[in-house]
């Protein structure tokens, strides 16, 4: 069959969507490079090359046409999201392992584009933080705090040839989330902790500005109608509420909402990862529930879990629940009574 409609919206395609998502990431990438040095260019490049290679390999193995599927650009978005979630200047194989988990396991073993249950970038991130926790905590320090400013050439050396002459301590520092976790467990007063150089006006030094750029990129996505307001609003709203509640209960252990919003992966998660349509809930009410619970889990994992950040785990956990949430949040269909739920068992008319 090839029936109506005979006309389709112009300039509308999966590749166009993916390109716009990548464009919305650019402000954050530039901020990243500004605050943490040129390492991000190297990790973006490494992840992108791996992405294309792995995607091609998997498409060949699955006997799928290369042209349309490479052109859709989804694998590059995965690569960029993973690169932005990982510490820069890590050894190349760390990126490779992450990308293999993202592209091969999370995407293609589940059936490729549109079929994956879990967000590929977050699967890659989770696999790495479980397997290589030490590497995953070695984030480059903001350039004003680092003992040594890394050049682009040095970045390539660090990624491909190892540390060599430069000591890890010369360019890395514990992130604000890490510092908060270790220091509060030592029982240090909150004022002293917040006075440490890792902290800025909101979250971690440098990181907070990158987070601000994710927010800007997210607003671009909203403006271009690539995402709806539901997921970011519910995610951020839930982070604020949960963090605020915990902070009121126990300010010595739990940071305030502002810190949670502008540290770690909250902004990236709210606008770019939780909104991944393939793995998120899709009904309006479902999105609110899905993202609301993901935001709450993020703060709970940060506050009580073993890992400094909880964005990846909370989103992966909610990915599992998304189809279930969708089933129970179907919107009322035009001409149907309120409370009549779609998707239930129904006999033929």
């Amino acid at each position: 069959m090839n029936g109506s409609p005979f006309t389709l919206q112009a300039d509308n395609s999966v590749s166009a969507i993916m390109l716009k998502v990548m464009a919305a990431l650019v402000p954050a990438i530039i901020a990243h490079a500004w605050f943490f040095g040129p390492g991000i260019w190297v990790s973006l490049l490494v992840c992108s090359v791996l992405a294309i290679g792995l995607e091609t390999l998997m498409l060949l193995m699955r006997a799928r046409p290369l042209g349309p599927f490479l052109k859709d650009g989804s694998v590059l978005v995965t690569a960029w999201l993973l690169a932005l979630s990982l510490p820069t200047l890590a050894p190349w194989w760390l990126y490779a392992v992450g990308m293999i988990f993202a592209v091969v396991v999370a995407k293609h073993l589940y059936g490729g584009l549109g079929q994956n249950l879990f967000n590929p970038a977050m699967v890659g991130y989770a696999a790495l933080i479980i397997s290589f926790p030490v590497y995953m905590t070695q984030w480059p320090a903001p350039q004003n705090l680092a003992l040594h400013d890394i050049t682009l050439a040095e970045s390539f050396d660090l990624v491909f040839a190892g540390q060599g002459a430069i000591s890890v301590d010369a360019y890395t520092a514990a992130t604000a989330l890490d510092t908060w976790k270790t220091q509060t467990r030592l029982g240090k007063p909150v004022e002293d902790i917040l006075a440490l150089p890792a902290f800025g006006w909101g979250g971690g030094q440098g990181h907070e500005f990158v987070a601000l750029m994710y927010l800007l990129g997210g607003l671009l996505l909203l403006g271009n109608r690539l995402i709806t307001w539901h997921i970011p609003a519910a995610f951020l709203g839930s982070v604020v509420c949960t963090a605020w509640g915990l902070h009121l209960l126990n300010p010595a252990q739990h940071a305030g909402p502002l810190f949670h919003l502008f540290s770690g992966g909250v902004m990236l998660g709210a606008f770019f990862i939780a909104t991944d349509p393939v793995t998120a809930a899709s009904t309006p009410r479902g999105k609110l529930i899905y993202a609301g619970l993901a935001g709450m889990l993020t703060v709970l994992i940060r506050g009580f879990g073993g890992y400094p950040d909880g964005v990846a785990f909370s989103i992966l956990l909610m990915n599992v629940a998304a189809p279930f949430i969708d089933t129970y949040t179907q919107p009322r269909v035009f001409g149907h009574k309120a409370g009549e739920r779609a998707g239930g068992h129904k006999e033929t008319p």
């Binding site: 069959m1 005979f6 549109g114 899709s282 035009f334 033929t348 008319p349």
Partner: protein, 568 residues
């Protein structure tokens, strides 16, 4: 007067392309040498031909009479001779032929004696009969017989159950401008038609809904309205948003009332007609002119796009010729609009009451659709769906042939407007999947019903056989009882009749035995196969052996002669 408008969910803004055909007035067409009038031009039972091949007919003469309740008449578009009543190409997505009456024009265009009528003094039911005879059906594309829709049903609380009549002049599909031109040029007749409809329905208010991209039409209607000073009619501009001209969508926009799922607008007291139907109804009722022509937009890749007053039965090839002919590089034709129309299979197919637009395609105007990619559940389809369905869920289930699930996601509420396919970034032909799923479900429903019927038949047969067996047994038992009872009466004394019969039988047996003995004694063979000569005996056994060998060979080669399997 300003009316509060309601916004239905979703909708899209496709490129209008309306200026191509809306600038020039409606043109008439030259008389053609032949017309082909299909008998099925409306929803329901096709009309029954009431002329024979060779008959002379006049313009406006009934050539097909309404058959049954959901039906309406068809008429000769001009005077001439019936040359054939046979299956012909018709404008239908299937491309199948359908019964049609071919008329060869005599050039005189002589009409029947048309009977004008003042509707104000008429009983609605008499008007309904007249409308049925005049062949009126909804000209917006659904072609439901109009006379049925003009029956308001049983009054509620002394008033008609239809409180509002809506005239649909939204014309939301791109490219189509026939209603636009009609409203600009014949607003008065449309309003008059609306008043006849309002009179028949007992409607308390009449609203003409027109999308705000047709300011000239709105102005023409407003000026006509001021001339007749009809307080019961209201002309309302509705926002241009596809599919705002869908019946349920327009009713909601204008009144805020939702037509219940699976129901009709009359369930909420609203009846909806296309403006073109109102115009034709006016002509039919007041002037006595049957529905033998309509306005059709011919546009797209043609030399002189525009609107034409086209006689029903005009071959589409002639309509294209009237629009200056298709330009070089034309790549097919669409009947209807680009959102909900269909590809024309045969240019010989005629314009019917349902045809409002013909678009000649070109690769520039209608580029080939890109290859479909997998669904990424982006939800763009759900955001534009005017029915608030989750089209991608219905797609996943239709694709997996889980039709029950697709149906539980309200597949049958889909109006096939095409918004979802239009916005899909993966270019999935979503509506095609829904049409497929719907037809599969209907097919299965039919099969299920057939199977149920067969089962009921079989069960009844089993029951009948059982009953017959039982009855027979009972009869036998009764008979045995009776004979026993009879036999029991002369138990001691011998029945004289039986004794006599027995004696006769014994005598006969004795005679036969004696005769056999006598024959044997005389050497006469009792049968012609006994005591054959040795030569004949040998021949017979040879033949027998051959036969046995042949039947064995046949059994070996022909599986059909396998012994029947034991019944399960």
């Amino acid at each position: 007067m300003s009316r509060r408008l309601f916004h239905f969910h979703g909708g899209i803004h496709p490129e209008g392309h309306k200026a191509a055909s809306s600038a020039t007035p409606i043109r008439s067409m030259d008389l053609l040498p032949r017309y082909v009038v299909p008998l099925r031009q409306h929803i329901g039972t096709p009309a029954r031909p009431v002329v024979a091949v060779g008959d002379r007919v006049l313009k406006g003469q009934v050539i097909g009479a309404a058959e049954g309740y959901v039906s309406t008449a068809v008429h000769a578009p001009t005077s001439g001779r019936v040359t054939a009543i046979e299956p012909r190409a018709v404008p239908h997505p299937s491309g199948l032929f359908d019964l049609a009456i071919a008329i060869e024009t005599d050039g005189e265009d002589k009409a029947i004696d048309m009977q004008p009528l003042d509707w104000r003094n008429q009983d609605p039911s008499a008007l309904r009969n007249r409308i049925r005879e005049m062949g009126l059906a909804g000209l917006g594309g659904a072609v439901f017989p109009s006379y049925i829709k003009l029956n308001p049903g049983t009054p509620r609380g002394g008033a008609s159950p239809i409180h509002t009549l809506i005239l649909n002049g939204a014309e939301c599909e791109p490219w189509i401008t026939c209603d636009d031109r009609l409203m600009r040029e014949r607003a008065m007749e449309i309003l008059e038609g609306a008043r006849i409809m309002g009179h028949m329905l007992g409607a308390r208010s009449i609203i003409v809904g027109v999308e705000d991209n047709k300011p000239e039409a709105l102005a023409a209607l407003a000026s006509a309205l001021s001339q007749v000073a009809a307080g019961d009619i209201e002309v309302v501009a509705v926002p241009t948003l596809y599919p705002g001209g869908g019946g349920k969508q327009l009713a909601y926009t204008l009144t805020g009332k939702e037509v219940p799922a699976g129901g009709l607008s009359t369930d909420v007291g609203i009846q909806i007609f296309n403006v073109g139907t109102a115009y034709s109804l006016y002509r039919a009722v007041t002037l006595g002119e049957p529905l033998i022509s309509r306005v059709v937009t011919a546009t797209g890749h043609v030399a002189q796009p525009g609107n034409f007053e086209v006689r029903i039965g005009t071959p589409i090839s002639d309509l294209i010729a009237a629009a200056g002919g298709a330009l070089a590089g034309a790549s097919g034709e669409i009947v209807g609009g680009p959102m909900m129309g269909f590809d024309l299979m045969d240019l010989a197919a005629p314009v019917t009451k349902a045809v409002n637009c013909l678009i000649v395609k070109s690769p520039a105007l209608f580029p080939p659709k890109p290859e479909a990619l997998p669904c990424i559940r982006c939800g763009a389809c759900a955001r534009v769906c005017p029915v608030e369905l989750q089209p991608f869920e219905m797609y996943w289930f239709s694709r997996a042939k889980e039709f029950g699930k697709a149906q539980s996601y309200n597949l049958f509420d889909c109006i096939e407007c095409g918004c979802c396919s239009y916005v899909c970034p993966s270019h999935i032909p979503l509506v095609d999947y829904y049409r497929f799923a719907k037809s599969e479900i209907w097919e299965r429903e039919r099969e299920k019903q057939a199977a149920e019927q067969a089962r009921a038949r079989h069960e009844f047969k089993t029951f009948r056989l059982e009953r017959e067996k039982r009855e027979k047994a009972e009869k036998f038992a009764k008979a045995a009882e009776a004979s026993k009872a009879k036999a029991a009466v002369p138990a001691d004394g011998e029945d004289p009749e039986a004794a006599r019969k027995k004696a006769i039988l014994e005598a006969a047996l004795a005679r036969a035995a004696k005769a056999k003995e006598e024959m044997a004694a005389a050497g006469i063979a009792p049968k012609n196969t006994d005591n054959l000569p040795a030569r004949v005996e040998r021949e017979i056994s040879e033949i027998e052996a051959r036969r046995a060998a042949m039947s064995e060979a046949q059994t070996a080669t022909d599986p059909a002669t396998d012994p029947p399997r034991a019944a399960p």
